[in-house]
Symmetry: C3
Subunit: 278 residues, 3 copies
């Protein structure tokens, strides 16, 4: 990706201040709201079936996260998603825990079948659960493992690209190495630190940030998604450095991560990128 593209993606966030509708879990909802505000967007959390269509109409993007799924809000997710599709707003799905229960797997699949998702973001286990559940006759490549590493990177990238083709969505599989793929291309991103997986909300915040970036850059979903992933990874690296300097731990890391999102700017982003187009 060219530096100019990153510049424009970031500028669009700051200039457009996109409003992002989140139907999300109650564990990390506060982190998602603060991450959105920190990046220059604004959050609206609303999950009642009677208002989600109106709310999503006001917004630039919709972020659906099934982290504390309950049957009351599945209808809300479907209604909001369909309305966002009508308006051509980007819709992001975070299938938290897909594979861990039938309810989660089947709900994720139902959402994907009834709503055009711009981006689906999960860890590799969740992405595999969706691929399996979607009735692929090929099954999941036996070489695809839950953790993406240098050893299985090539197979993992191929797998994510194929799933993107099948689902007609940009797919993000996060882990030690992050993969952002459409049907033809994939970015691999080596930003980030292990401590991000030792606080709750890193993944959920990333999905919310992707929604903001896509909301402000609807014609560049693939690039905007990759930029979000790299951006949060760089914030993680910078937060971790401060944790080490201040004798901190996971608690300060969480605060610093939001700090770094709010302090992010184009030079810091460009200077910190560890991204490659495969």
């Amino acid at each position: 990706m060219k530096t100019e593209t990153f510049n424009e993606i970031i500028e669009n966030i700051l200039n457009k201040n996109p409003l992002v509708h989140c139907i999300t879990n109650y564990v990390t909802v506060n982190d998602c709201a603060n991450a959105l505000l920190a990046c220059g967007a604004s959050p609206i959390m609303a999950d009642d079936e009677d208002e989600v269509e109106e709310i999503t109409t006001l917004c630039s993007a919709l972020n659906i996260n099934i982290g504390t799924l309950n049957k009351r809000t599945i209808g809300s997710m479907l209604k909001a998603g369909k309305r966002a599709n009508e308006l051509n707003h980007p819709v992001i799905l975070d299938p938290v825990g897909a594979g861990a229960s039938s309810l989660r797997t089947s709900t994720a699949l139902k959402l994907i079948s009834e709503i055009k998702m711009s981006v689906i973001r999960g860890n590799m286990s969740e992405i595999i659960a969706i691929a399996n559940g979607y009735g692929s006759t090929q099954g999941v490549d036996a070489n695809v493992e839950d953790n993406v590493s240098e050893q299985n990177l090539s197979e993992s990238v191929d797998f994510v690209k194929k799933l993107s083709l099948k689902l007609n969505s940009v797919i993000v599989a996060t882990g030690e190495i992050d993969i952002v793929a459409n049907s033809k291309n994939a970015y691999t991103i080596r930003n980030g630190v292990p401590m991000m997986s030792r606080i709750t909300g890193s993944g959920c915040m990333l999905s919310a940030l992707i929604a903001a970036y896509c909301g402000a850059n609807p014609s560049r979903i693939f690039e905007a998604t990759a930029a979000s992933v790299a951006m949060l990874g760089i914030c993680g690296e910078r937060a971790y450095k401060r944790v080490m300097e201040t004798n901190g731990g996971n608690g300060l890391f969480r605060a610093y991560l939001i700090d770094e999102i709010s302090k992010m700017n184009t030079p810091t982003l460009i200077g910190g990128l560890k991204i490659e187009l495969e």
Copy 2:
């Protein structure tokens, strides 16, 4: 307001340790609980229709916030509010998102029509939505804008006073300048910093703090409300200063804001006040 009045209001919080019943949203509920504890009050969050009357009976004040409104809890809000009214406990309404959906606007109006609200606190857009919805034949003064500034202050103050008269509640409209009005008088408060609007929960925490201050000072609702608004603004100023000194951002600001509430005392409050009676 006289210094003695502020002294007494603060002393009452610390001496009475008021218990505040919150029916609130799941985005900022943790911030509200921590803000209440930090100021010397205690929170109880309870929203099931089968227990809200009992819970509110134990408390000194009730804080109703519609930030993630869902139909399950509207009945709870009504029951709790009516019980609090019977007991002459102060009831505070935070009509989050009024104007953004029919459900929110109509629920806010229903709550106002069935419960005597001691205080209604929102940003100016939310306050205008309520004024419009309440069927004023005069409509909203065309000069009243969503953001209160020096340019439109006089019209804004008049508008808020009139609404206070109509609804028989103290009205708080927060923004660049905060207005706290009853039917006859208004305080304008210039404490606070813009970063408060870049974290989630500043408004919700303020409504919770107003409930605590009013719960400990039920005979001085107007003054206690103004004191809460100024207090949180001063905390914001002090937190922002520390953020600048520690190379922080929005994440540390959130932690420092709670810090400053917990460290607040009467001399700091009195010394920091930027409040005028219009």
Copy 3:
């Protein structure tokens, strides 16, 4: 308790990385998730009746907390608890607010009567409410007070032991002095600082940590529970020291508390213990 026992308990957490299923309140759920991650465990929050049995099957322990009890999730608590019992997974109950409303007291009693609880943890008021509600013909000893202190320690310990015998659960009553009792023995723990009660979530985090420790040490429920209580108390002492050094307040204390959980190791734990077997 021998030093070797503490060593093993801590080692088991770090080696087994236990997965803990939490059905908990929306006020402190983020704190619970972060506390679990910080101690070396992993959280899954899931409360829909259709998935709780599957989810709890994947886990090593179940933590039930009634802090924002609502009727939708009572059935989920019962289903998850019964499934955990079938699998011999430790089940921890935090009866938040028992005694404050009939719904809470009766739900806590129902859960205790239908599910074998490994550990019940509350403050002394909540523990007394359960003892009263459980139909003891002896009633609560008149000398048992809501706050455990040196003056009433002996009576309090006896009371908690008797309740443990009656309910066949380890009972934890937290306060100025913490008591962890089974039917025959009791640990008294004098770790901790008052500031822990001035942030929301200290109690809820403790219950979640107990679940993690018991999940990794299912054959040593009594010792693992005592170790959790002492561990969080030591983290509180260390966090408080840092708050004093950095001119902080309740906000930083919350972040530092999670920091200290993530930085805890066996020497720090052993060196800081203020625990006695009565």
